[in-house]
Amino acid sequence: MISFQPTDEETAFITLAKTLAEEVLRPAARSSEEERQAAREWTIKANELGFAALELPERWGGMEMTLISQAQILEALSNGDLALVQGLPGPGDAASFMRLAPENQAFAAYRRTGEGGQWPTVAFLNACDPGVSQSINITGASFENGYVIKGISRPVKMAAFAAYLLLAAPGPDGKTRLFWLDKEQTRWRAIPGDYRLGLLASGWARVQFDDLTVTKDAVVAEGRDADRLLSRALARLRVLEAAKEVGLMTAALSYATEYTATRRAFGQELAKFQGVSFQMADMAVAVQAARLLVWRAASALDREEPEAPGLSLDALSRAHRSLRLVTDSAVQLLGGHGYVQDHPVEKWMRDAAAQIALNGGEQDLLLRRGEQLLTEERETVS
């Protein structure tokens, strides 16, 4: 039955997340940006309430929530501040891989480490993404001899703080490999950079591999197994990232609505100029369209529908488009006030641009979706 009604449990979580967003995340956004790190109060509360483990499997002590529930909660949290949500210590994007392969031996030590509820930080580097060139090279012919990884990545979220790295990269034979790299045991390095655009509390860093030798123990999956796991995890991640984007655009919409309702020019509220109110209407529709596509993809993935991965491409590309429109429009509608840091909209526009760069451009996602539609190829869902 078609319904848009959240469950009672979801409503309770959303209420909690909204409170946290309003009382902790939003007030800490600027200072966290200056300190280039998530506020401690946020990370403590997130751990206490389980927000760092929404995606982790129950048998690991995680929440193992459905994507439709997570989408709503992440939207509510990101409404507070997206950079802080992205900068939350813990398993991060790797949680989706753990969710899908909970018994994988490569994750065993991490699982034990986090049993007390404190999950060390993991960064995820996808060097298999055909839309993103990475100067990472893997050599070596077999497990027996190990692989040698060399090169330097593009900037990666949370790499600056990560104790572990989950790396997806093509091996010497062109087949996909997924590696789990413990920073203490391997020699990958996080290279700081000069980051000024956005999501500045989320630990941007490049990852450098200096002829790093890895053994069989570090391989999470290879070949078809790796492709399958990567494809399934990426579909989940697209939905989760798109949900966060809906949270950010909702913040910008709300702020611009209130501002234009109260700010006066030429003797009346800005809202009374149709050039303003119609733009606001476009923003509201863009937000709702993105939200419903995110829910559609989340619901389809939860149900393991064959179309689900394609819908996740739809959701993320639409979210990118709406996010760009809404955050840019919010700055525009505040005029000069939108451009200065007295108001949060300039930060949201910067965060939005960084978020889109982080998650693959709208056109690339559309093209991939289009190729699926024309060739009727489907990614793996189960």
Binding site: M1, M280, D314, S317
Partner: protein
């Protein structure tokens, strides 16, 4: 819980209506467009099958309750209204088949919702019971727009002067779907222009009433098989019993916007249906173009890449419009206000269908101009961004709802 799964009953309605669209509407679609009308024998045939255009057609019924109960599913709560969701599901399929023919299907059409909403039991019986498969095909119509009052609904000039036993109507209505063939028309008029919206009244004017005439049918860019009439009322006497809702309805709402409210509430129900038809047209164009590109385009290179990106964008736009439409219908079903959502889906779908059809035409190139549905769909599409409230009016409604919490009236 949030769900996009069709219930067995919703799926059944979708499948049945799709079958009808594919096997009964599509075969006559291009010919109907060419001759500018839907053949009478076809209308008689579908009427005898009991197929009508009415939001009530797909609404609550004993059958629906039996179906839901028989499924035994807890999430299909017995008695949960789903008429609006069923209506938009069906409307999408009808739009996919042929929107002009869909609007010409026998039945009360857009005139049905106001009668259902505020009609007295007697009026509902008199005006809605005439649509019967055992009778000749009949239509209802909805007459609001005037030459000087299109989007500005509040500015209608048609007058209703109270006289002994009824009202005398004078004025002109334009762009009235099925206005000439209709057995009755819901006509909006003002009892006193100085009263503004609170002076509005809705009347059911029956065909053949002295002073009521249809001097002209419009020739249009698209939807050519659909009848678009101009109606004239010259000292047209309408009895009291044809005042929609009766005198009591308006007496109880002295401080409210009366007939204006009726017109607006009708839009909250009909805009999602119109939006769903737009989604159906867009889907038809998309599916046709997807088939053509798969068949005729090179499998790699620049044209393939361009087509892939364009088709993905189109598919996403259709999905977005459909979900906005479903949400508006769902809110109506569960009794929540849906004016903002109805405006959102109408604004989005109306613009989307024009963009989608234009992009499909581009992908077809000149091949799309010669005897192809895609050029017809493009011509049909544009009106969906205009009727039932233009895109600009929808923006105004959305904005009003956004600013309402701040006490700002835009």
């Amino acid at each position: 819980m949030i769900s996009y799964q069709l219930s067995p009953h919703q799926q059944q309605v979708k499948d049945i209506v799709h079958w009808f669209a594919e096997n009964e509407m599509r075969p006559i679609s291009l010919e109907a467009d060419k001759i500018g009308r839907v053949p009478d024998d076809w209308l008689e045939k579908v009427n005898s099958l009991g197929i009508t255009l009415s939001t009530a057609t797909f609404g609550e019924s004993d059958h629906e309750h039996m179906d839901s109960a028989a499924s035994g599913k807890e999430n299909e709560r017995k008695g949960e209204r789903q008429g609006n969701r069923l209506a938009v599901i069906a409307a999408e399929e009808l739009g996919w088949g042929d929107a002009a023919i869909a609007l010409t299907l026998p039945g009360p059409g857009l005139g049905g919702p106001p009668i259902q909403a505020i009609g007295t039991p007697e009026q509902k019986r008199r005006f809605l019971s005439i649509f019967n498969r055992d009778e000749p095909p009949r239509w209802g119509a909805y007459a609001l727009t005037e030459p000087e009052a299109g989007s500005d609904v509040a500015g209608i000039q048609t007058t209703a002067r109270k006289v002994e036993g009824g009202y005398v109507l004078n004025g002109q209505k334009i762009f009235i779907t099925n206005g000439k063939r209709a057995s009755w028309v819901v006509v909006f008029a003002t009892i006193d222009r100085r009263m503004g919206r609170s002076g509005h009244r809705a009347f059911v004017v029956e065909k053949g009433t002295p002073g009521f005439s249809c001097p002209r049918l419009a020739h249009k860019m698209g939807l050519r098989a659909s009848e678009t009439a101009e109606l004239v009322f010259e000292d047209c006497f309408v009895p009291d019993e044809n005042l929609l809702g009766g005198e009591a309805y308006y007496e109880n709402r002295q401080s409210g916007p009366s007939g204006f409210r009726v017109a607006m509430q009708t839009f909250d129900n009909t805009r999602p249906i119109i939006a769903a038809m737009a989604v159906g047209i867009a889907r038809a164009a998309y599916e046709s173009t997807l088939d053509m590109v798969r068949r005729d385009y090179p499998k790699r290179g620049r044209p393939f890449q361009l087509a892939a990106g364009t088709l993905a964008n189109i598919e996403q736009e259709i999905q977005s419009a459909r979900l906005l439409t479903w949400e508006a219908a769902w809110r109506a079903d569960i009794g929540r206000p849906n004016a903002k959502e109805a405006a959102m889906c109408k604004a989005y779908a109306g613009k989307m269908v024009v963009d989608v059809c234009a992009k499909c035409l581009e992908l077809f190139g000149t091949a799309g101009l010669d005897g192809q549905w895609v050029e017809k769909w493009y011509r049909d599409a544009k009106i969906f961004d205009i009727f039932e409230g233009t895109n600009q009016i929808q923006h105004l409604i959305i904005a009003r709802h956004l600013y309402a919490p701040f006490g700002v009236r835009v």
